[in-house]
């Protein structure tokens, strides 16, 4: 009798164990703070959308775990001879999730779709002059000038099936109303869409016909957006989800202190910096300076740089998780200038004497603008910086606001100094030079995020060369010169690289990529 009870309970617990084990190997649940707003890979150029859709769609090239470019739908690519551009040799035998064969026509169609006015990603194709289908598995992208970076710049250019899009009236990305591609997918990627309830739940299942080598062991993956950070953490700790990106810094200790959970930490490619109103002739928010802008004097900008104590910010606000930045990209990104890797030392005395030299021995007051929901601890950072500026006599009037209101204010030039974070979309130094350091020129599409209007003729002159130069050493020399100039002129004060903090259950193995993209095909649940 007793034996039977024992064996029964052993059976039951065995069944429970089995049930739990198979459940965890089958389904994977994850959460993030933002829902991908569309399933259309060309409609929106935003990280939540591109990151999510990279699981479903694929590009000609893709980024590996270390962020370098490798072949995806193109097996290989080489520069064209005799003209400027690139030839992509496509992978034969690839099929879309609906069974249609993948050919160069699909690439051509996707190029036309993604470079259309209705597409938000069209800026990727600004250098392209023409695209030519050579045969079913060869396609040429002609560029207006030599463009060694072009393959790197289209890693997120995802390929749609021409026949499917045309049959369903999704020839163009949805602009006003939704279309078929907003809610349905047909890619070549490792996963496909099983169901979608926008803002609530999206379920992916593996694509059985995927051409690549399967490294994951997921049979179903469920994504839930959880906007409230505390709720997301609770969902992880209660075991309802297996993984969440990101978690707030202050919750790291909470997760680490519990058995069965881990924190994944890394460096994002985003550099946080202060910018100045270089072209403003007077301060807008000063109570004691009128008719002039002290920040036009390089000594004042240098003083601001020396006033910032990154080590203290790191210790107090970031729990030792940030790395000081010397330039607008972090070390490891292509084009990073090793020759200029020193950031201004924390030296309040030097800052004061520089201010005195510039004619402000008693300091001055100015307005500092910061977002409060864009970067990790952005508002706290600005408070800390404001008190550091005040210590050398620069009295910052801090005003903060949500990012939806912040960009319009910067565009309207209502700032004396502002906070900005920049992640180079192409993972190359050319990106911040083009967007942040070039003289704003809407015709040439340069300097569109250079709110302060920083302008240096030599930097403008060097940019086309950097974009075209094929020889790495010659190119790096030009980049080094730009970095040296902008450091000497203190175009910006680079502060630090933003940390990347994810949390997961212990039994989940995954890859944390520096662009904050989460790839399901690298996930294994043990």
């Amino acid at each position: 009798m007793k034996m039977r009870i024992l064996s029964n309970s052993a059976l039951v617990s065995g069944a429970i164990l089995l049930g739990v084990a198979s459940a965890s190997a089958e389904s994977f649940k994850w959460a993030s703070n933002t829902d991908p707003q569309t399933m259309d890979p060309h409609a929106v150029n935003s990280a939540p959308v591109l990151s999510f859709l990279n699981n479903i769609y694929e590009g000609l090239v893709r980024r590996n775990q270390g962020m370098s470019i490798e072949g995806s739908l193109a097996e290989s690519w080489e520069p064209l001879t005799g003209e400027d551009g690139w030839r992509f040799n496509l992978r034969p035998g690839v099929t879309f999730q609906n069974g249609a064969a993948f050919t160069a026509e699909d690439v051509m169609f996707s190029y036309e779709r993604a470079s259309n006015e209705a597409a938000d990603v069209r800026s990727w194709f600004a250098p392209v002059s023409e695209v030519r289908v050579v045969d079913d598995y060869t396609i040429d992208f002609l560029t207006k000038a030599p463009n060694p970076l072009f393959p790197d710049s289209i890693a997120n250019f995802m390929i749609l099936d021409k026949g499917w899009a045309e049959a369903n009236g999704a020839e163009l990305p949805a602009r006003d109303a939704e279309n078929f591609a907003t809610m349905n997918v047909n890619g070549t990627g490792a996963f496909t869409l099983a169901s979608r309830d926008p803002g609530v739940k999206t379920v992916l299942i593996p694509n059985a016909g995927w051409w690549g080598e399967v490294e994951h062991n997921i049979t179903e993956a469920t994504f839930t957006p959880i906007g409230n950070a505390a709720t997301g953490l609770a969902a992880l700790l209660s075991g309802e989800i297996d993984f969440i990106q990101p978690i707030p810094l202050q919750d790291v200790a909470q997760v680490e202190s519990r058995d069965g959970f881990k924190v994944l930490e890394g460096e994002e490619t985003r550099v946080i910096m202060f910018g100045f109103g270089h072209e403003h002739d007077e301060l807008l928010y000063s109570s004691d300076v009128s008719g002039s802008n002290p920040f036009q004097d390089v000594r004042v900008r240098q003083a601001a740089g020396h006033a910032i104590d990154i080590a203290s910010i790191d210790r107090v606000l970031f729990r030792g998780k940030i790395e000081g930045a010397s330039q607008l990209v972090p070390a490891g990104i292509s084009g990073y200038s090793e020759a200029n890797s020193d950031r201004p030392a924390y030296d309040p005395e030097k800052a004061k004497s520089l201010l005195a030299e510039a004619g402000y021995p008693d300091g001055f007051s100015f307005g500092l603008k910061c977002p409060n929901d864009r970067y990790i601890n952005d508002e706290a950072l600005c408070r800390a910086a404001a008190s550091m500026f005040a210590a050398v006599g620069m009295n910052a009037e801090l005003s903060t606001g949500p990012v939806r209101d912040y960009w319009p204010q910067l565009r309207e030039d209502s700032f004396d100094m502002y906070l900005l974070g920049w992640s180079p979309g192409t993972f190359d130094m050319e990106h911040p030079i083009r967007f942040l350091m070039s003289t704003p020129n809407s015709e040439k599409k340069l300097g569109s995020w250079n709110f302060g209007g920083y302008s240096n003729a030599r930097v403008d002159e060097l940019l086309p060369g950097i974009q075209r130069e094929v020889d790495p050493a010659a190119r790096q020399a030009m980049v080094d010169e730009v970095v040296a100039i902008t450091q000497a002129e203190v175009a910006y004060i680079p502060l630090y690289t933003q940390p990347l903090i994810w949390a997961a259950k212990d039994n989940v193995a995954m890859t944390q990529r520096a662009d904050n993209f989460f790839m399901l095909r690298w996930v294994t649940v043990n």
Binding site: D35, T224, T231, W407, S442
Partner: protein
């Protein structure tokens, strides 16, 4: 009676237009939708073109007139963020919010009325003092803190209830309900309690005050003297007279419960209208915000109307006036 209802419904249209006007005049301070809709690499010209296409450069009056005109034709527009039809987006979220609000209301009534009566009958008892103290704490803590405490206690520490979402739902016609599965009820419990706590306290205190008032009145004393059983006196005569003002207040509060479920929905990632509204604010999704506010205004009008009708049903004196 029909005339009365009809008149109120017509009035509600004006209320909604007024709300839409106020909302629209505030939207331009919310932020710029274009910068939220486009990526960092999108050129300024492309942004401008989009702004022009969406009619955001038009004067305020033109934008407002277009919004009202479309609404009157039943066209609620398309979301800037997801490009989906706004009408569909909001109507698919209504069941979640309504079920949450109604269950919260029931919890507050089922607990609030008995405890209110109890504390009125034993005003100086130890239990009464304890209840009053606890509910005072409950009403002083902000909703989101109560929600987080409940999540960490029942979701994380004890692991009894889910921490977010709606759990299992059943599709009945166009209505996605969580009231027909155990899973759904498990998910509903914590958010409903969180949302209902304030109502519960209010109901209890209101019932208690009214009850004590009524118990002092002459007809109760007379009933006592006449030998009417205490049970019948308390629960039939006293309670019925207590409920009239209670229903008014609670009914009027219900509109607020629906409107302010935003906080609870955000804490529990409850996929209702409030959560949708919050996301819309983040992305400056003006069409969704506009329609949401109009729908909420309609709810308020509707709830007030129902309260008026209930009033008539409960208080016989009003019926007499109406028919005379």
């Amino acid at each position: 009676m029909t005339y009365f209802i009809l008149k109120r419904l017509i009035q509600s249209v004006f209320v909604m237009i007024a709300v839409a006007f106020l909302a629209f005049s505030l939207f331009r301070f919310v932020g710029d939708p274009i910068t939220q809709m486009t990526g960092v690499e999108t050129s300024i010209e492309d942004q401008e073109r989009l702004r022009e296409e969406l009619g955001l450069n038009d004067p305020f009056v033109v934008q407002f007139a277009r919004f009202i005109g479309d609404m009157l034709q039943g066209d609620f527009g398309y979301s800037y963020r997801t490009r989906q039809p706004v009408g569909e987006m909001i109507s698919s979220r209504i069941p979640a919010t309504l079920e949450l609000g109604i269950v919260a209301l029931f919890i507050s009534l089922l607990v609030g009325i008995p405890t209110g009566v109890f504390t009125a009958l034993r005003p100086r008892g130890f239990a009464t003092q304890t209840i009053l103290m606890t509910t005072l704490v409950g009403v002083s803590i902000p909703t989101f803190v109560i929600g987080i405490i409940l999540i960490f206690l029942f979701g994380v520490q004890l692991g009894w209830l889910p921490t977010f979402g709606r759990g299992g739902t059943v599709q009945i016609g166009g209505w996605e309900s969580s009231l027909f599965t155990i899973d759904g009820w498990r998910a509903l419990l914590l958010p409903a309690i969180t949302l209902g706590v304030y109502q519960l306290t209010l109901t209890m205190r209101l019932v208690r005050a009214e009850m004590m008032e009524v118990l002092r009145s002459d007809y109760i004393r007379f009933g006592m003297a006449r030998g009417v059983p205490m049970r019948s006196l308390y629960f039939k005569h006293a309670l019925a007279n207590t409920l009239v003002p209670v229903i008014t207040i609670i009914g009027l509060q219900f509109g607020g419960v629906i409107a302010f479920s935003i906080v609870t929905e955000s804490v529990f990632q409850w996929p209702g209208m409030g959560l949708l509204f919050l996301e819309s604010i983040r992305f400056v999704d003006i069409p969704v915000m506009g329609v949401y506010l109009v729908v909420i205004a309609f709810f308020f009008v509707l709830v007030n109307l129902i309260v008026d009708l209930l009033y008539v049903a409960i208080d016989p004196r009003l019926r007499v006036k109406d028919t005379s």
